[in-house]
């Protein structure tokens, strides 16, 4: 059933995800797909989509989960360590360098204003993502009610996430089950 052509070595797993980490400006997923399916052909498109489904279903960063799952598949625990460190090494170093730069020069008005502009645009990136994710809810009135209630509990009332998430998820899954048939 599998059309995967090769079992990559630990070094190849590390390098593959290192490339994904470095390239992944503004969304890592497209790069991951390109590398895993098209360039290195570790998996077929179908296998990739199925594994991605798991990674989006479980808690945690999707791309981080993906690195763990791909590493585990080809190299067990060592494979997961290779893919995870490959993915995280360069971005962590880069983000810390940015942090040091910001700390040192944030007294300069130019730098401070530059980062204010960057921050306002970064908010827009999340806002756009939120609108994209919310748009399939059109035509699901109960889904909209649950989304709005979750939003109010977190953003307006500032309730702690754990109980809100538990209650909202339980209600939402129950209603999906109740109205499925």
């Amino acid at each position: 059933m599998s059309e995967s052509r090769a079992t990559p070595s630990l070094a190849a797993l590390f390098m593959g995800f290192f490339t994904i980490g470095v390239c992944g400006f503004g969304g890592v997923l497209p790069w991951a797909r390109r590398m895993i399916v098209e360039q290195r052909r570790w998996m077929t498109a179908g296998e990739f989509t199925d594994l991605l489904g798991l990674c989006q279903f479980l808690p945690g960063g999707n791309i981080i989960n993906l690195s763990i799952a791909v590493g585990a598949r080809f190299g067990g625990a060592a494979g997961s360590v290779a893919t995870f460190t490959g993915l995280m090494a360069a971005p962590m170093a880069i983000v810390l360098a940015l942090g040091v730069f910001y700390n040192r020069y944030s007294d300069l008005p130019m730098v401070r204003h530059g980062f204010a502009g960057l921050a306002a645009t970064a908010s827009a990136l999340v806002l756009a993502t939120a609108l994209k994710i919310a748009s399939p809810l059109r035509g699901r009135p109960i889904g909209i009610v649950i989304a709005v209630a979750t939003f109010i509990a977190i953003a307006v009332l500032r309730w702690p996430l754990a109980p809100v998430l538990l209650a909202a998820a339980a209600l939402s899954i129950l209603s999906a089950w109740r109205f499925a048939a």
Partner: protein
């Protein structure tokens, strides 16, 4: 910086966030902010927003805000502890369940749970967006910039990094006041 004494608290906070992050890293931003701004007063809300913006300017997963929050609270050790704590629990879960996933690929409950979680994720990410925007909208100019950039992200094929760079450039030349 608070130093090494904060490391156990950092580990606990981020490990919890890891298991709560249904729908990816962006869903736990308000809770992360609540923990490091209110519960443990390690930084202000606007400092948190700056760290988030810095994380967006770097390549890689959007969980990198944890690296910067940890670093801000407890230096390099804090950066490592926060990042690993945010990744480890969910990673172990993924590692342990990846093979089960294939077995349940056609199970009806899988679709049901996915369908059920979708509205919750949508509400959580919208909350993240609003909480962040509140702290990055320092005046009407930055508010307008956020609205315009949102439209650009949704309606054009511009690379996100291009829009981020343009936002920063507007600030540098003094347009944002």
């Amino acid at each position: 910086m608070t130093g090494g004494a904060a490391l156990p608290s950092l580990a606990l906070i981020f490990a919890q966030l890891s298991l709560l992050a249904f729908g990816g890293g962006n869903t736990v931003l308000p809770e992360m902010q609540r923990q490091v701004v209110q519960v443990h007063p390690w930084m202000t809300a606007s400092e948190f927003a700056s760290l988030f913006a810095l994380a967006q300017a770097a390549p890689g997963p959007n969980m990198l805000v944890a690296t910067l929050v940890g670093w801000r609270v407890a230096g390099l050790g804090g950066a490592l502890v926060a990042t690993l704590s945010l990744c480890a629990p969910s990673s172990l879960l993924t590692f342990g369940t990846a093979h089960l996933w294939y077995r349940f690929r056609d199970a009806p409950w899988r679709k049901l749970v996915q369908r059920g979680l979708a509205p919750v994720t949508a509400g959580l990410i919208m909350a993240s967006a609003v909480v962040l925007t509140e702290s990055t909208s320092t005046g009407w100019r930055t508010s307008v910039l956020t609205v315009v950039a949102t439209v650009l992200f949704l309606r054009t094929k511009l690379h996100p990094l291009t829009v981020l760079a343009a936002g920063a450039a507007l600030g540098v030349v003094g347009v944002l006041g």
